[in-house]
C-alpha cells in the first residue's frame, strides 16, 4: 500500500507523542540524574494554570500578539496582493521580494533585527536620529510595550509575504469576465472592488486569517533571539513559556499541560480551516 509508510511515520512521530503529552500533563515529572520519576496528579497541572500569573500573562500576551498580528498581516498582505495584481506590479522582481523573507531563517532574521534595533549602534536609532524623530538613542527592546511592538513588527515583516502570495493566488483566480461585466454594468472601480473582489476573495482571506493565527501562536525563534521573553516576562507567550517550563525549569508535566492548551487552540483553528477548504472538495465518494 502506498500510504502506509507515510501514515506509520506520522503516527509514530506525531500520534504517539501527542498521546504521551496528555499522559505527562496529568503527572508531576521530576528529572533526577537523567531519570524521570513520575507521580500521578490528575488535573493538578491544569488547575495550576488558572492560578499562575505568569501563564495568565503569557496567555494574554499570546492573545494580544495573535490579534494584532493577524489583523495587520491580513490588511498589509491584502494591500500588497492588490498592488502586485496591478499591471505595474506583475514583474518577476516582486515575486523575488516576496520569496526572500520566507526563505530567511527566522533565527537569522531575529539576529538581523536585533542588530537593527541595537540600542548603541542600531541603524534604526541612527536613522530616526538623523530625521530628528528621536533626540537620543532608544533601548527599543527595553520596555514592555515597545518590546512587544517590535516583536510584532519583526514577525509581521516575515509573515506578510506569504499571506500576500496566498491572497494574490486568490485574486488571480477571480475570472476577468466578472470585471468586464461590472464595467459593462457601469460599476465604478471602487464598487467593483467592493462587490466583486472582496466577496470573491472572502474564502482566501478566511484561510489566510486562520493560517496566520496558527502561525502566530507558535512564534518562538524570534522571541528566543530578540527578547528571551523579557523585559520582565512582558514578551513571554504560551509557546515560549511551555518551552521554558519544560527545558529550563524541568517542570515537564506542567510544560506539557501548557503545550496541550496550545494544541487544543490549534486543533480548533485547524478544524475551522479544513471546514473552509472542504466545500470545494468533491469528497472521497467520487
Amino acid at each position: 500500500m502506498f500510504v502506509a509508510p507515510a501514515l506509520l511515520v506520522l503516527a509514530l512521530m506525531l500520534g504517539y507523542p501527542i498521546l504521551q503529552s496528555w499522559w505527562l500533563s496529568f503527572q508531576r515529572v521530576q528529572l533526577q540524574a537523567g531519570r524521570a520519576s513520575e507521580t500521578w496528579t490528575g488535573l493538578d497541572n491544569y488547575i495550576r494554570l488558572f492560578a499562575d500569573a505568569t501563564f495568565l500573562q503569557a496567555a494574554a500576551n499570546s492573545a494580544l500578539f495573535c490579534l494584532v498580528e493577524v489583523v495587520l498581516v491580513t490588511l498589509i498582505a491584502l494591500a500588497v496582493a492588490l498592488l502586485l495584481n496591478h499591471p505595474l506590479g506583475r514583474g518577476g522582481i516582486w515575486k523575488i521580494m516576496l520569496i526572500i523573507p520566507w526563505a530567511i531563517a527566522p533565527v537569522a532574521h531575529g539576529v538581523l533585527w536585533k542588530w537593527i534595533l541595537n540600542s548603541n549602534y542600531g541603524i534604526l536609532n541612527g536613522l530616526l536620529m538623523q530625521l530628528g524623530v528621536i533626540d537620543s538613542y532608544q533601548v527599543w527592546l527595553g520596555s514592555p510595550v515597545s518590546a512587544m511592538a517590535f516583536l510584532l513588527l519583526v514577525d509581521i515583516w516575515k509573515s506578510v509575504p506569504f499571506i500576500a502570495l496566498l491572497l494574490l493566488a486568490g485574486l488571480q483566480r477571480i475570472p476577468q469576465s466578472l470585471y468586464r461585466a461590472a464595467y459593462m454594468d457601469g460599476a465604478r472601480p471602487g464598487a467593483a472592488f467592493r462587490h466583486i473582489t472582496l466577496p470573491q476573495l472572502r474564502g482566501a482571506i478566511a484561510i489566510a486569517v486562520i493560517l496566520q493565527t496558527i502561525w502566530s501562536l507558535r512564534v518562538f525563534d524570534i522571541i528566543f533571539v530578540l527578547t528571551s521573553g523579557g523585559p520582565a516576562d512582558a514578551t513571554v507567550m504560551m509557546n515560549f513559556m511551555a518551552y521554558r517550563t519544560t527545558f529550563n525549569f524541568l517542570d515537564i508535566g506542567y510544560g506539557a499541560a501548557i503545550a496541550n492548551v496550545i494544541f487544543i487552540v490549534t486543533v480548533l483553528l485547524a478544524i475551522i480551516y479544513i471546514r473552509l477548504l472542504q466545500p470545494r472538495e468533491p469528497g472521497a465518494a467520487k
Binding site: 507515510a6 506520522l10 504517539y16 505527562l24 498592488l83 531563517a105 496566498l166 507558535r218 511551555a242 510544560g255
Partner: protein, 282 residues
C-alpha cells in the same frame, strides 16, 4: 473610460500604485540590504553614530574571516545540509506515493486522511516536543543527524503530501487509463508516467521541505547538543559570543541564509504555485 483604464486606473491611481510599490520594496529590502552592507563594513565604521558610509569603511575582512576561520559555521552548514537533504529525501520517498494514493487510488476515507495529514502540519512543535525529547533521550539518540531528519518529517511529510496531492488531482485521469490500456500496472504508471510529469511540483515540494528543515530552530535547540548543531543554532550562539562584532555576525548570518535564498529565488515560480495554491485548495 476605456476598459484598460478601468482596470489599471488613471494617471493619478497609477502614480499612487507606483509609490506604494516603492514603499513595499523599501520595506522588504531595507533590512536585507542592511544585512549585506553590514557584512562588508569595518567594525569602527559601525560603532560610530551615525554609521560611517564612506568608501573606506567597506572591507571583505568580515566575510573572509568567517569563511576562513569559523569551523563552527562550516560544521553547522554541513550539518544543516545533511539533515535537510536526508529529511527531504525521506519526505519525498514516502510522501509521493502516499499523495498519489490519496489523490487517485480511490482509497476509502481518502479525503478524511488527507485533511488529517494537512492538520498535522499545523501542530505547534511544542505539542510533541516534550514526549519526543523524553523518548529520544531514553533511546540515546539525542544529538544525531538521523534523529533530527526524522523529526523534521513531522512537518515536511505533510507539506510534501499536500503539495503533490494537489497536483496529482489535477492530472486528467485519461492519462492513467491510457497507461492501463498500454499495459502498465499501478506501480509502473506511477514510475513511468506520473513521476516524470510531476517534476515541477516535486521540485517545489523538495525545495519547500529543504528550506524548512534548513531553517528549523526549535527542535534543533531541544534535540541536539554539540555535534549536530545546525545553522540556526550556530547563528544564535554567535550572537551570544560575538555580541559586538556586528560585521562578522551579519556576515555569518548572510552566509548561512544564502544557500536557501538562492534556491528560493531560482525556484520561486514552482514554490509559489505549489504552496500558495496547495494551501488554499481542497
Amino acid at each position: 473610460m476605456s476598459y484598460e483604464r478601468y482596470r489599471s486606473g488613471g494617471l493619478g491611481l497609477k502614480t499612487g500604485i507606483a509609490l506604494a510599490l516603492g514603499v513595499f520594496a523599501v520595506w522588504s529590502l531595507a533590512p536585507i540590504v542592511w544585512m549585506v552592507m553590514t557584512s562588508f563594513m569595518r567594525q569602527r565604521a559601525l560603532i560610530v553614530r551615525p554609521p560611517d558610509f564612506s568608501p573606506a569603511s567597506f572591507t571583505l575582512a568580515n566575510v573572509t574571516k568567517i569563511i576562513g576561520e569559523s569551523d563552527m559555521l562550516w560544521q553547522g552548514i554541513l550539518n544543516s545540509a545533511a539533515v535537510a537533504l536526508l529529511s527531504t529525501a525521506i519526505a519525498l520517498a514516502l510522501g509521493a506515493p502516499a499523495a498519489y494514493a490519496l489523490a487517485r487510488l480511490r482509497l476509502p476515507k481518502a479525503g478524511a486522511i488527507s485533511f488529517l495529514i494537512l492538520a498535522t502540519q499545523m501542530l505547534p512543535g511544542i505539542a510533541v516536543a516534550i514526549p519526543l525529547f523524553l523518548i529520544i533521550s531514553r533511546i540515546g539518540m539525542i544529538d544525531h543527524i538521523v534523529t533530527l531528519a526524522l523529526v523534521y518529517l513531522t512537518f515536511n511529510l505533510p507539506i510534501v503530501i499536500w503539495i503533490l496531492r494537489g497536483f496529482f488531482l489535477s492530472i486528467p485521469d485519461s492519462i492513467e487509463k491510457a497507461a492501463a490500456v498500454d499495459g502498465a500496472g499501478v506501480v509502473q504508471t506511477f514510475v513511468h508516467i506520473i513521476l516524470p510529469i510531476s517534476r515541477p511540483p516535486l521540485a517545489a515540494a523538495a525545495i519547500f521541505a529543504f528550506v524548512e528543515a534548513w531553517n528549523e530552530f526549535f527542535f534543533a535547540l531541544i534535540l541536539t547538543r554539540r555535534s549536530v548543531q545546525t545553522v540556526p543554532l550556530v547563528i544564535s550562539q554567535f550572537q551570544g559570543q560575538y555580541q559586538t562584532a556586528f560585521g562578522q555576525m551579519m556576515a555569518a548570518a548572510l552566509i548561512s541564509v544564502l544557500p536557501v535564498i538562492l534556491l528560493a529565488i531560482v525556484f520561486r515560480n514552482h514554490i509559489i504555485r505549489g504552496f500558495a495554491d496547495g494551501m488554499s485548495k481542497g
